[in-house]
């Protein structure tokens, strides 16, 4: 079982920007944390290492009669204090910084943020250091922070930084900051900041090459017209001779002209297969990795179905129902991914609750895909209820690596199998 120990940061540092802003507004933060944070960020990386050494020397050299560590402490502390004292004389005057990032970032993949620095001032700026926003536990910057040796006056430089995020959901990053490095390199001047960046970390998509849906006795009429509720979208079947009562607007003038007999266009309605997807979020005794795998599988199934002839009409995650219309150029996959990005481990699986959510929609559905992270009688009862409602149901269960906790009559997918399909492994054929 994977344990992300970095989550312990939650104890002290809120994950959301709103929470961090609220924390900054507290008097205790203003009194203790803010001065420390300001000092910390006023120092360069080298300055922080030397400050740590100075702190060690301070502790070790308390007894000034006995040793000489206090000389080391005095020297390091003096250098740092002197650097901090002159930092205000090194502002990045005339420099503008802008950050751009993607709206959606895939979980665990490198997200690229582009920084543009433009020196509109009259003076060249030297040793510009960039600092990325603080990432509590759910993200990590790749590589060292970028820097620019010289930013000549009137010129612009573009830099890129990448980060990986380990938690789904909406993110609001604090601003990027840039500052000039001071002589000796122990501190930096006053910072200039970008605006914050908002984006959503969406789940990884398991690549699904094919999914077999149970055939349903009924197709849904109405096609795109009812699907999108806008405009008419009848498919032209051919022309036939005019009969009494046909609409005048359906007359086909070219045929009439060619044959001399009035003819009308004949249409037929399109029929779609409408699919619902149900994701079970009751973790039970399973770990969160299984839930993440199930979410990736659901994302992959929706991506696959949205490229085909079917329409995805429904997405149920736990006890939440999200009506959708995806596929056939209606809606976008991003809609579903945004919903899936916010899925958390849900309450205990309840057949009654899930059926009450599904029942009003069953008459419109052709088939339903049920992705579970565990299997028991209540889940079997749900499948039975769906079938009794006249809708075909395909059940997929995410099992542990051994695959021993799933009965043989249920389609089981191993965690590693789905995770491989998210990476460089083979596609899934379901």
């Amino acid at each position: 079982m994977n344990r992300n120990l970095a989550r312990l940061n939650h104890v002290l540092i809120p994950t959301t920007k709103l929470g961090r802003d609220r924390l900054r507004e507290r008097w205790a933060s203003k009194l203790f944390v803010t001065p420390l944070a300001k000092t910390y960020f006023a120092l360069s990386e080298e300055g922080r290492v030397l400050l740590a050494c100075a702190a060690l020397a301070g502790f070790a050299g308390m007894d000034v009669e006995r040793g000489q560590s206090h000389v080391l402490w005095a020297l390091l502390l003096s250098l740092i204090l002197a650097s901090l004292a002159v930092r205000r004389f090194f502002p990045l005057s005339g420099v503008r910084i802008r950050a751009e990032g993607p709206d959606r970032v895939t979980l665990g993949r490198a997200a690229r943020f582009q920084l543009t620095l433009e020196n509109r001032g009259r003076r060249d700026q030297h040793g510009v250091r960039i600092r990325g926003p603080f990432l509590p536990w759910d993200g990590k910057w790749n590589g060292p922070a970028p820097s620019i040796a010289t930013l000549p006056a009137g010129q612009r430089r573009t830099l890129a930084v990448t980060a990986r995020f380990a938690a789904r959901g909406p993110h609001h990053l604090d601003p990027f900051a840039a500052a000039a490095l001071l002589p000796l390199g122990l501190a930096v001047g006053p910072h200039i900041n970008t605006t914050g960046i908002r984006f959503t970390v969406v789940p990884q998509l398991a690549r699904v090459r094919h999914i077999a849906l149970p055939s349903s006795p009924r197709y849904q009429p109405g096609g795109v017209a009812l699907a999108s509720l806008t405009g008419e979208s009848m498919e032209l079947m051919g022309v036939r001779p005019y009969r009494q009562g046909d609409r005048i607007r359906d007359l086909h003038v070219r045929t009439w002209a060619r044959t001399g007999e009035p003819a009308v266009r004949e249409y037929q309605q399109e029929y779609f297969s409408r699919v619902g997807v149900v994701l079970d979020t009751d973790l039970g005794s399973a770990d969160e990795e299984r839930l993440e795998t199930a979410i990736s599988l659901v994302a992959g199934i929706i991506a696959r179905l949205s490229r085909g002839e079917a329409l995805i009409d429904l997405l149920v995650t736990g006890d939440q129902l999200h009506p959708l219309t995806l596929g056939r150029s209606l809606g976008h996959l991003d809609q579903a991914l945004d919903h899936l990005a916010c899925v958390a481990a849900g309450p205990r699986f309840d057949t009654g609750v899930t059926m009450s959510l599904l029942r009003p929609h069953l008459p419109r559905l052709s088939s339903l895909v049920f992705v579970a992270i565990d299997w028991n009688e209540s889940r079997r009862a749900l499948v039975r209820g769906i079938l009794e409602g006249g809708v075909g149901c395909r059940s997929l269960v995410i099992s542990d690596d051994a695959g021993s906790d799933v009965p043989a009559d249920v389609d089981a997918l191993r965690v590693a199998e789905v995770q491989d399909a998210c990476g460089s492994g083979p596609d899934l054929v379901l």
Partner: protein, 642 residues
Amino acid sequence: MSRGGRVALLAAVAVAAALWGAATGARAVSAVALAIAAASLLRRSPVPVSTPAQALLLLASGLLALALTTLIPADEALGGRSLQRGWVLVGGTSLLLMAARSHVLRPEGGSVITLGLGLLVFLACGSVRSGPIYPVLLLGYAMLLFATLHLEDRERPAWRELGWRHRGALAVIAASAAALTAGILLALPGLSRRADAWVLRWLESRVQSGFHDGPMMLGALEGMLQSDEIVLRVEGPAGELLRGNVYTRYARQHWLAPRERQETTRLLSDPLEPHAADVTVIRYADDDGDRFFLPLDAAELQLVPGRVRTDALGVARALPDATPELVRLRRGSSRRLPPAAPGREDLALPEPLRPRLEALAREWTRAAATPSARVDALRARLERDYTYSLDFERADARARAAPDFDPVLHFLFEDRQGHCEYFASAMALLARASSVPARVATGYRVWERNPLGGYYIVRQRHAHAWVEVHLPERGWVSVDPSPLRSFEQNPPATTAFVAGLLDWGALALQRGGPTPPLLALLVLFAAIQVRRLLRDRRRAPSAKATAASQPPRDLKRLLGWLEELGWPRGQGESLEAYARRLSRPAARPEPEPESEASGAPLCAAESLLLRYAALRYGGLGSADALRADVHAWLSTAASPPR
């Protein structure tokens, strides 16, 4: 890293290695480190090493440093002061790792960590005094550190590209840092001494200690720190010293109990009249110990619990699972627990100390003929020539570790100041050197009197040590050699009034039943409460206060009803705004014949909300009337929907 950066790093390693060799004498480590670092220059470029391999490098450096410093002994450089083993390991490992990292391309943490390891070498070497070589090498290392960082970082501009502003700032930083360092180094010794003194004073006022069982170690801080915790209370005629432990053997800084310490269990429950004038009553406030603190001349004893263990030295302890609660005693010449007659241990002197102690005792008691006179002479000399002190300068660790060091001799011949344990130890050993049997006793000095109640309070800080000498004509007698003037430095011998009143009440509770002090306290408390009650009655309660403290309980039901009706109060919406929203004609629902939720109840609800807001925030109107109207509205005008 550029060639210049590698050379600068090698120079930094050389400086750190030079200091290490000078400070520890373990020049093998320095030589190995220097050789490793120099070999990096032979390579065309550093080698990429993975993170786990770098962790292994750290481990290997530690093991190599340990082996080199253990196998090749240091040559006691720098006046024989060698580093502690922990610092040797930290410094040696850092030096070797620093040298090894000079071969690594992009080491973990970068060059700044490599150079930080060099600072750890300086830190380790700084744990002993190395003389002027330390600051000189440190300055050189700092310059090399900044040069290496500058040469190694390609994102830093070259010096020639920088303008006068940067160069000026560099000069300002260097000058300010130099001045600040000099100032700190000049001021630090004085500040350090003051801080030490302050911390010691702070500790002395907070750390709880006092009488302690087990061996008495001279020079230890235990027993010297003071606490105000009450141990016992003494009513009636009290002796000055209450003994709880007696030591007979002295062995290098320690006083120990007799080798053979046989205890007998007995019942000490003499019939004593509790309120007799010549009966002393000792009440224990501390539940922890097992010791009965008794004067040496206790003639009759009534102990609670009565069954106790006593030893040959006259010390009484409670049985296991029991604690002393109460003692009643009468003092006299016929002792109830007479200490055993003097034995060989009571005249024993450690052989290494004997010559100097006997010489000193002879000198001090030259004019004294009898044992009693000799004891008086010794005591007078200690009181006259020695100073009682709790914060005297103790001999440093190196002196204490010397094989011939003895704290009593140090006290007698060098320091001439110390606390009661030093005086008692010196007196006991000098008395033995004068052929007078002597033992050291510890316990409490009865010193502080509570004027309210007329009894004595004994606190932890009254823990004391003194001497019991055996005089042929009087037997064992207590002699306190600590200068009497030393007690003048202690807090006053009279308890402060408020503390005394509180303690008097506590004693009354311990005695059981309402006694005058407790009754007085109760009457005082009752009088204060009655006065407050009368004062509150005289003041008419303000409408605002009433409204604020007692909001109509039915208001929640009113709001709930409105919410269920489809008119919830918005988040953060004030009551006035909410009422205004309800009053808008467009907001009201169309009256339906079959529905009870017509516009009339909404109007009434709006009026009630406005009245409540006026009462709650303006103090206008009557809370009772409003509460009644809300209740009436809920019960009659609108029945809540289901």
